[in-house]
């Protein structure tokens, strides 16, 4: 039965690797400027993890095959190099591998978090709340009016709690249920939540960031391809969490300008 176990372990390992190698299930295609760094990091990690996974399972299987059902009278042997060899091997191989991954991965992370948004990045505000995302564009004055939480009222559709009668900056703000952005134009996303923890995940844009109640969180990204993508919530926020989503449309500059104009008239 040891030999059957050995074969089973090795077979499971190989079969598990097949969908990965065949790219059967993959992330949505990347349409961001920084995403390739994440994808490259992912691919490198997959190779190294894949080797470690297959090597470990195959070695385990091999030794089970060889040393189960040994003949009586066989003597105990030590693995060549003993424990010290394996310990040193672990430090050198795995240690350098993981440190390399860690060090190289800093670049992808810093592209997202340690670079400030470009001076001409377009500011867009997103508010998360049970169970929808709403977006606000600053309008021609380029300023977001202040938010008054006590004025938030879904019934009257005052979603951001704006006081357009008394706050001049709010008068031209454009509030939408869908997000649209121009292609190849950096976006500076200003994130806040109305009520609880939520998260902003756009797999195609390679961004995921939690909202933090009480904090304004900032994110920036640039889309490189027009199309319609999904923004989904990934931080459990209640019974409607599975359905909390919005569409993101990436458009040409011209199409975006007309879309914004259209939205302004709907306010």
């Amino acid at each position: 039965m040891g030999k059957i176990l050995a074969v089973t372990i090795i077979l499971i390992a190989i079969l598990s690797a097949v969908p990965i190698v065949m790219h059967t299930w993959v992330a949505p295609a990347d349409v961001s400027v920084h995403g390739h760094l994440i994808d490259e990091q992912m691919a490198e990690t997959m190779v190294e993890a894949g080797i470690a996974f297959l090597a470990g399972q195959i070695l385990l299987g091999l030794f089970i095959w060889k040393f189960s059902d040994v003949k009586p009278g066989a003597r105990i042997k030590n693995f060549p190099g003993g424990a010290m060899g394996l310990v040193i091997g672990a430090f050198l191989l795995v240690g350098t591998e993981v440190l390399a991954l860690g060090v190289f991965g800093v670049k992808a992370w810093s592209e997202v978090y340690f670079q400030p948004p470009a001076a001409n990045a377009m500011p867009i505000q997103v508010q998360a709340g049970q169970f929808a995302f709403y977006f606000r564009y600053p309008g021609p004055d380029g300023k977001f009016g202040p938010i008054h939480p006590e004025l938030i009222n879904e019934g009257t559709q005052n979603l951001f709690g704006l006081d357009q009668d008394h706050d001049p900056a709010s008068k031209d703000d454009i509030v939408t249920a869908e997000m649209a952005i121009p292609v190849n134009h950096e976006i500076h996303l200003l994130m806040h939540t109305k009520d609880l923890g939520h998260s902003f995940y756009v797999p195609a844009l390679r961004v995921q960031q939690d909202f933090v109640p009480g904090l304004d969180v900032s994110l920036h990204f640039t889309a490189t391809k027009t199309g319609k993508y999904e923004i989904v919530c990934t931080q459990l926020c209640g019974l409607g969490h599975y359905n909390m989503k919005a569409y993101l449309e990436v458009m040409s500059e011209a199409d975006f300008a007309s879309w914004l104009k259209q939205q302004a008239t709907n306010q």
């Binding site: 040891g2 089973t8 969908p19 299930w25 993959v26 949505p28 992912m42 990690t45 993890a49 996974f53 470990g56 399972q57 385990l60 089970i64 040393f67 066989a74 105990i76 042997k77 030590n78 693995f79 003993g82 424990a83 394996l86 310990v87 672990a90 430090f91 240690g95 993981v98 440190l99 991954l101 860690g102 991965g105 800093v106 049970q130 939480p149 006590e150 019934g155 709690g161 939540t193 109305k194 009520d195 609880l196 923890g197 998260s199 995940y201 797999p203 390679r206 995921q208 939690d210 933090v212 109640p213 009480g214 999904e230 990934t234 459990l236 209640g238 019974l239 409607g240 969490h241 989503k245």
Partner: protein, 595 residues
């Protein structure tokens, strides 16, 4: 902490009444069995919850007959509502992590075997020990009661992130009374764990018999000791966190709730609290907790494998140091659960490095286990099958950690099924395999009977293959961006993944049913199993030296145990058998013998 002779004065007399023998027992062996029984009830409950979850995920409008009896509001017409899915999910995670994975490997096996393995008659604080079980049992009752109150249990996941968990009923069903019951149950659970840890630590340090130096402790004893130190420090943080959470509900405080939050168009009466504070407190506990779940399994698997390889580990000390390194590092990595939480992104990098480095002791353990198989005389039986399966599962689950340890990759994989696959492989499957290995191995000592070996092997094969069929696909779903904690998959990019979910559901149901083979074997063998010899595995550690199976009340029948060897004197040449018992005065020197 020197090995002074343990005086053979038992702290408590042998019980006579039924209540003292089987209910409020001071005997560590009875307490160990009570914990095991609790874990068994918990795992069956948790497993049924997982079936309900998986059925719903595969077929979202499925009528599950009788479900309305469990909750009329949660399943009107037997169709699960979105909130009820989340409530079942929360209870599944909570029950499994606390009442199965913290209870069985550590409290059940540890309580039973640690005193025997150190050569003691019992733990030093038997009343605390009895209390630790009954407090844990009370915690379980308080948790389960939330199914039957008001609008049901909390739906905030076993991680209970604030403010969802802190603002009260306004946030959704189960977030009022259900939430307070959850936090109370877990706070009570923490008390039980602290009492237990106290006993484990003092047993290991102060109750070792003559000749039992620390380096002569079996690897299972080391694992329980290391786990108990983690338990003391980790649960000591979770308990106040739960108390603060309860206060946010009932005392109008705002530890975890920021100002100016609006729910259902109402400004919430909280100000000044911190969402991230909950996450820091929770994960400071939460990460050591997952090592509390796995380290005992590592110790048990090492112990079981050694007896079945007929040789000690390639290096006994390296195993101990590696488990210790995991324990120490486990406190430094917790922020990897919070990479995209909004905490300072520099902190994310800081946490990622120890997370990557913790791969090293994990790898060392796997390499020592595999390296020790080399040149061994491996015996295949139900116990060793599960021990070997543990190694395979730990490799699989551990390797997916390479991805999650990197913040940049976590941007894509956080809160997806990749994470769920990772922790299920290491915790749900590997740790459970450790429990199974321990059960098949120690059943003869606890009951005096053998489990049915054929049924044990069938149980192993179907569970091993089944578990991989369930949890390997989770990784593929995660790579595709499948978000977790969704009761249904309605997003355009997720709809195409539903067939894979259905495959997983079928695998889960079949693998679940297979567990009843184990249950039947456990119960039937307890009554009708073949009588076991005193030392059926020809093993060396002190539990196999007791004069009877089950051991007598004081473990060694009044004998003052003296230890002459380390616990793994196997592969002896020139002896009649290929092993020497730990308490045998026979002086045969052909392998390194720890002093």
């Amino acid at each position: 902490m020197h090995d002074a002779p343990a005086h053979v004065v038992h702290q408590h007399a042998a019980p006579t009444s039924f209540i003292r023998k089987y209910v409020f027992s001071l005997d560590h062996k009875v307490i160990g069995k009570q914990y095991y029984a609790l874990a068994l009830i918990a795992v069956l409950t948790g497993m049924v919850l997982s079936w309900l979850m998986r059925l719903h995920l595969g077929w979202v409008n499925l009528k599950i007959p009788g479900l309305h009896l469990l909750s009329a509001s949660g399943a009107p017409g037997d169709v699960m509502t979105p909130e009820y899915y989340l409530q079942l999910m929360t209870m599944h995670g909570t029950i499994m992590v606390f009442f199965v994975l913290t209870t069985a490997p550590f409290a059940a096996f540890g309580n039973y075997f640690l005193p025997i393995q150190v050569g003691a008659e019992d733990m030093p604080f038997p009343r605390f020990n009895m209390m630790s079980f009954w407090v844990t049992f009370t915690a379980f009752l308080v948790l389960i009661s939330s199914f039957f109150v008001g609008d049901g249990p909390t739906l905030a996941g076993w991680t209970q992130y604030a403010p969802l968990s802190a603002v009260g009923a306004a946030a959704g069903p189960g977030q009022g009374v259900g939430e307070v019951l959850w936090a109370s149950a877990i706070a009570i659970f923490c008390v039980g764990q602290l009492l237990g840890s106290l006993n484990f630590i003092t047993t290991t340090l102060d109750m070792r018999t003559k000749g039992m130096s620390l380096w002569r402790l079996p690897l299972s004893a080391w694992a329980w000791f290391i786990t108990s130190v983690m338990g003391l420090t980790a649960f000591a943080v979770l308990m106040p966190a739960c108390i603060l959470l309860i206060l946010d509900h009932v005392a109008g405080t705002s530890f975890f709730v920021a100002s100016n939050l609006v729910l259902n168009d109402q400004l919430q009466p909280h100000s000044g609290g911190s969402t991230l504070l909950w996450q820091h407190l929770f994960w400071f506990f939460g990460h050591p907790e997952v090592y509390i779940a796995i380290v005992p399994g590592m110790g048990v698997v090492s112990h079981v494998l050694i007896a079945n390889m007929r040789r000690p580990m390639l290096s006994h000390r390296v195993i101990v140091y590696s488990m210790g390194a995991l324990a120490v590092l486990s406190y430094m990595v917790y922020g990897h659960h919070m990479f995209v939480s909004g905490m300072n992104p520099f902190s994310s990098l800081a946490f990622s490095f120890p997370t990557l480095i913790i791969t090293i002791p994990s790898t060392i353990l796997v390499l020592i286990w595999i390296g020790s198989l080399y040149g061994s005389k491996l015996r295949i039986n139900a116990a060793s099958l599960f021990a070997l399966g543990f190694i395979s599962l730990f490799i699989s689950g551990g390797v997916s950690g390479f991805f999650l340890a990197q913040p940049s990759i976590d941007i894509m994989l956080h809160a997806t099924y990749f994470v769920v696959g990772h922790f299920h492989l290491v915790m749900a499957v590997a740790a459970i395999f450790g429990i199974f290995a321990g059960t098949y191995f120690w059943f003869p000592k606890v009951t005096g009977r053998m489990m049915n070996e054929t049924l044990g092997r069938i149980h192993f094969w179907l569970t091993f293959v089944g578990a991989y069929c369930i949890f390997m696909p989770f990784h593929y779903l995660g790579i595709a961006g499948n978000v977790r904690r969704y009761q249904a998959f309605v997003d355009d990019y997720l709809v195409g993944l539903i067939p894979l979910h259905r495959f997983i559901t079928v695998a889960a149901l079949i693998t679940g049913v297979v567990q009843f083979i184990f249950l039947y074997n456990l119960i039937h063998s307890g009554f009708r199993g073949e009588k076991a010899p005193l030392n059926p595995w020809q093993a060396t550690s002190l539990e196999w030296s007791t004069p009877s199976s089950p051991p007598p009340f004081d473990n060694f029948g009044g004998r003052h145990v003296v230890v002459y060897h380390d616990p793994y004197q196997y592969g002896i040449e020139g002896a009649t058998d290929d092993y020497v018992m730990q308490d045998s005065p026979a002086q045969i020197q052909s392998v390194r013998d720890e002093k």
